[in-house]
């Protein structure tokens, strides 16, 4: 009995530093954001913050810009993550082949991941710029007129997606490539001996075995894409109109330009809730493949 108690005490002592850190760095900021979101809190105002109850959350309901930014974020995540997954998948299979030169190419393909997103945004901004950009110059060589890559609603969204895909596809490729490398060879040999075709092997063996890796990369990329702000900051500032105004950009302009901390915190809390709920669905699927 006393040994049990001692073990418990030891566990508490050993875990407590981690718990303290978790509370200080993760839980406290979230709780503080909730606290701020319940106040009229403007850094620009000389008046002290005052309690607002759920006012800021009610405002969100009527704020067209907020609902637009949620829609834009959803579109961006869907487009960027799906394209990255498809390309990453294809590249992983390509690099999994034992061909000469592919290993060097695989190493080189990882370079975009190492670049700072702000720099990536700036480079793409200049490449797609209608006045200085190299892209329109290249198009002109083929007799194609200048395209408004950053000033047409649809093209601007696709341009931001393109920059994100360029940077993060190698990451997806790397995760799936690592998973592919770890698949046991004997399973495939047995399947071939049983007379399964290559297509059947892919559908019935490779894909199910890769499922955890795919889900993990999906969660990581989806959360990351939901938080993406750098590309929008450098390339479009949320325009044209509000066609690339993702939620983090709207939160940033509200909190750090207009200095309306209460309202920005309310949006951030909603964002945290959405990310947590979304991530939970995937995490459950990873932990329990049979779960609905």
């Amino acid at each position: 009995m006393s040994r049990n108690r001692e073990a418990k005490r030891a566990a508490i002592v050993l875990v407590s530093p981690a718990m303290l850190l978790l509370f200080a760095l993760n839980i406290f900021p979230v709780l503080y954001a909730v606290y701020i979101s319940l106040h009229h809190w403007s850094l620009a105002s000389p008046n002290p913050p005052r309690f607002a109850g759920l006012f800021n959350y009610q405002e969100l309901w009527y704020d067209g810009r907020f609902s637009n930014s949620l829609g834009v974020s959803a579109t961006f995540i869907a487009l960027a993550v799906l394209i990255e997954l498809a390309l990453g998948f294809g590249l992983a299979f390509l690099f999994n082949r034992k061909l000469r030169g592919l290993e060097t190419l695989r190493k080189l393909s990882l370079l975009p991941v190492m670049a700072m997103p702000l720099v990536v945004g700036l480079v793409w901004f200049y490449m797609l710029n209608q006045n200085f950009g190299v892209t329109n110059w290249v198009l002109s060589l083929f007799g194609i007129g200048a395209q408004p890559f950053l000033t047409d609603g649809t093209l601007a969204m696709l341009s931001v997606v393109l920059a994100d895909v360029w940077q993060w596809t190698p990451f997806v490729m790397l995760v799936i490539f690592a998973a592919l490398q770890s698949l046991p060879e004997y399973v495939f040999e047995a399947a071939r001996m049983d007379g399964l075709t290559e297509r059947e092997i892919f559908r019935r063996i490779t894909l199910p075995l890769l499922r955890p890796a795919i889900l993990v990369v999906l969660v990581i990329r989806a959360i990351d894409a939901f938080r993406m702000i750098e590309l929008v900051f450098m390339m479009t500032k949320g325009g044209p109109g509000g066609s690339t105004e993702v939620l983090p950009w709207y939160i940033y302009t509200t909190g750090f330009l207009s200095l309306d901390l209460g309202y920005a915190a309310a949006m951030a809390v909603v964002m945290i809730v959405l990310v947590t709920l979304g991530a939970q669905v995937f995490v459950r699927k990873i932990a329990d493949p049979g779960a609905a």
């Binding site: 620009a44 008046n47 408004p148 479009t236 044209p240 109109g241 302009t253 200095l259």
Partner: protein
């Protein structure tokens, strides 16, 4: 052993010599307004502070002390000034303040009045509009360092070639831009800030000023508005008005004669496109003209003339005055206040203003510096701005110094971009801007 004993006095001698040379050095470098002390400045990434960064070593030598210069982007500076104001003692001796921010920072700044009086400081060399721009409720809250207006730059040679008159009005500007866009293959009419957010929001309110109107209901004072005492009842937004509609229509008309990608164009990009010959006119913060005036490769160098913001029908020309002032935080350590004042007098002295112009900051708030031949040669915009100042064509009311100014700009920057993108009609954009700002003012408790 012997070696060791002889090394000790040699080491001591070296130490004494070294200490002597350091003391001698610091005594020499102490000859200057800083007198061997250290000054802490919080600045902005605008030309004048960029010049200070460039010539930092030279300035420390001239000042006779060390200069800790923290240069921040606009929004980071804004947050840092407000957060610093909440400290018991300020972390900075001097802060940079943008003209429209005085309203917001008023409670957090030191009044220069008593210091000016005690030291007999003469502010009459500054342009009156620049000097009085930092006066609120009888208090002088800032000393001009880089105040400059947003004006219009145009290519004299191109206008002569097409037989066009200088674009002093909106109508003339649109006509000239139309002619040039049609006749020239690779040159558009006019470059301006149309990018979403702060850039377009500021364009809207400065153009609204061309119609003699301000974005909030301030009290008229002749052709201008009373800025020193803005009351809660003056905080009603005035966006959905005749002047607002005229502004929206003008922006839509300008969009037609602008270079490609105008909806993403802002700040220095408009100047660079103009500098490369991409457009015949550009709205420009005067100090930025160094980008082409000091570039031998630019076709705009020596071929540019400057005008105040072209005006709307029936309104006098008024260019928005903005730019940077030096101020002392109210929570400064009292023992450092005198040092801060000494440093500000030095940093804004005629010699230093002249030095900044020679390194790419084409702004002179001082008349005496504007008269210098070398200054006029490096920066032809300076005498042009001088003439505008003397003619009373510069004003700051277009961007009222109220805490909500950034919110006003942000809302207009988003709504008007929807209008220019074709997502909203002008009427809808004006109506929603008015409604959103009215909501903000109510939320802030003004009415």
């Amino acid at each position: 052993m012997t070696r060791r004993t002889s090394a000790a006095p040699r080491g001591a001698l070296t130490g004494i010599l070294l200490a002597g040379s350091i003391l001698a050095g610091s005594a020499a470098s102490a000859e200057g307004p800083l007198e061997g002390r250290s000054i802490r400045i919080l600045g902005i990434g605008d030309p004048v502070f960029q010049v200070m960064q460039k010539i930092h070593g030279q300035m420390e030598e001239m000042g006779g002390g060390s200069i800790q210069l923290d240069v921040r982007p606009f929004d980071v500076l804004h947050q840092q000034v407000l957060l610093n104001a909440q400290n018991d003692v300020s972390n900075y001796d001097i802060i940079a303040v943008d003209l429209p921010q005085f309203g917001e920072y008023m409670p957090y700044l030191t009044d220069f009045g008593p210091m000016i009086e005690a030291s007999g400081y003469d502010g009459s060399d500054f342009h009156e509009v620049a000097w009085t721009g930092a006066q609120f409720g009888g208090r002088q809250l800032g000393i001009p360092l880089q105040p400059h207006p947003e004006i219009l730059a145009y290519r004299k040679d191109v206008f002569e070639e097409y037989g066009l008159e200088p674009p002093t009005t909106h109508e003339a500007l649109l006509h000239a831009a139309q002619v040039i866009s049609e006749k020239s293959d690779d040159m558009s009419g006019v470059c301006w800030n149309a990018a979403r957010g702060t850039a377009l929001g500021q364009t809207f309110i400065t153009v609204m000023g061309d119609f003699g109107a301000a974005p909030i209901d301030m009290e008229k004072q002749g052709d201008d508005f009373e800025m020193g005492d803005i009351k809660p009842e003056n905080m009603h937004p005035t966006i959905d008005t005749e002047a607002g509609k005229a502004t929206a229509d003008y922006l839509l008309a300008m969009e037609e004669v602008s270079p490609p990608g105008i909806l993403n164009m802002a700040w220095d990009e408009r100047v660079r496109v103009y500098a490369n010959g991409g457009c015949a006119m550009t709205y420009i913060w005067a100090g930025r003209s160094a980008i082409f005036e000091q570039d031998d490769q630019s076709p705009a160098k020596g071929n540019t003339a400057y005008l105040p913001h072209p005006s709307g029908p029936g309104a006098p020309p008024r260019s928005t005055l903005g730019g940077w002032y030096l101020a002392i935080p109210a929570n400064i350590d009292p023992e450092r206040k005198e040092l801060a004042w000494e440093a500000i007098q030095w940093l804004s002295s005629p010699e230093m203003i002249e030095l900044y112009t020679q390194h790419g900051n084409c702004v002179s708030p001082r008349r005496s510096v504007s008269q210098l031949e070398n200054v006029q040669a490096a920066c032809p915009v300076i005498p042009a701005v001088d003439r505008m100042a003397e003619a009373g064509e510069l004003a700051g009311w277009q961007r009222p110094p109220v805490p909500e100014i950034q919110k006003i700009v942000d809302v207009l920057g988003a709504e008007m971009h929807q209008m220019l993108s074709g997502d909203k009609s002008a009427e809808d954009a004006l109506e929603s801007s008015q409604r959103l700002l009215d909501r903000e003012m109510r939320k802030a408790g003004y009415y």
